[in-house]
Symmetry: none
Subunit: 114 residues, 2 copies
Amino acid sequence: MTDPLSRTLSALADPTRRAILARLVTGEATVNELAEPFDISLPAISRHLKVLETAGLISRGRKAQWRPCRLEPGQLKAVDGWLERYRRFWEDSFDRMDLYLASLQKGSIDGEPN
Amino acid sequence: MTDPLSRTLSALADPTRRAILARLVTGEATVNELAEPFDISLPAISRHLKVLETAGLISRGRKAQWRPCRLEPGQLKAVDGWLERYRRFWEDSFDRMDLYLASLQKGSIDGEPN
DNA sequence: CCGTTAATTAACATATCAGCTAAGTAATAA
DNA sequence: TTATTACTTAGCTGATATGTTAATTAACGG
């Protein structure tokens, strides 16, 4: 599993790690802050953070004895890019865009099915 | 790992399984057809298909002795939906926190859609 | 220097995963 | 009925993942 996309998806497959990412959306956090909501040990959290960092989903700084973690969106963007080729399977993108543009020209978008 | 999103992301973390999905974009295929490009045994492919089916990423029919597989986009859409809350982090590098806070009014705190 | 706080590393148990070969099942064809 | 084709299941192996507790490193503060 050497490729970055596999590593990223594997990292995202764990609900604890996804919850950590969700927390980091609100801004930087230290390891103890990130561990607080969970019932697992601090070393376990530390390992989860290592997985996220190796996957490129977070980066870590150093402030005194704290190691603030921050979200790195690059790999999430890569997942989005991978999804792109499948998007047409759940979106009728062309038809919907045609309808959207047509409705724009008529000056109303109220009737969009959505 | 009982939740559907974790199961889906775990299934997608394997490059062989992603390659199988990519093949299915071109239409239905039998197990032997799907196995053909790979150097691994047919039972290994069969297990990969089982993982994809359990994750809801494919479905399988029955035509005589063949088991045609087809892509099921629902779980890919779920991944796209999960990504949605992070999209602003790479689409909008300015004021991303403001945008997050604006969207927070309607979302859950731990970020898991279900 | 010593103690406290923050976090990581070490050592270990257990579970799941991905691969194999061999055997089994299901439907078709002779 | 028997053979063939298509695929799955069983049983095994080695690698990897997740968790634990105990020990260790790093920085700060008296």
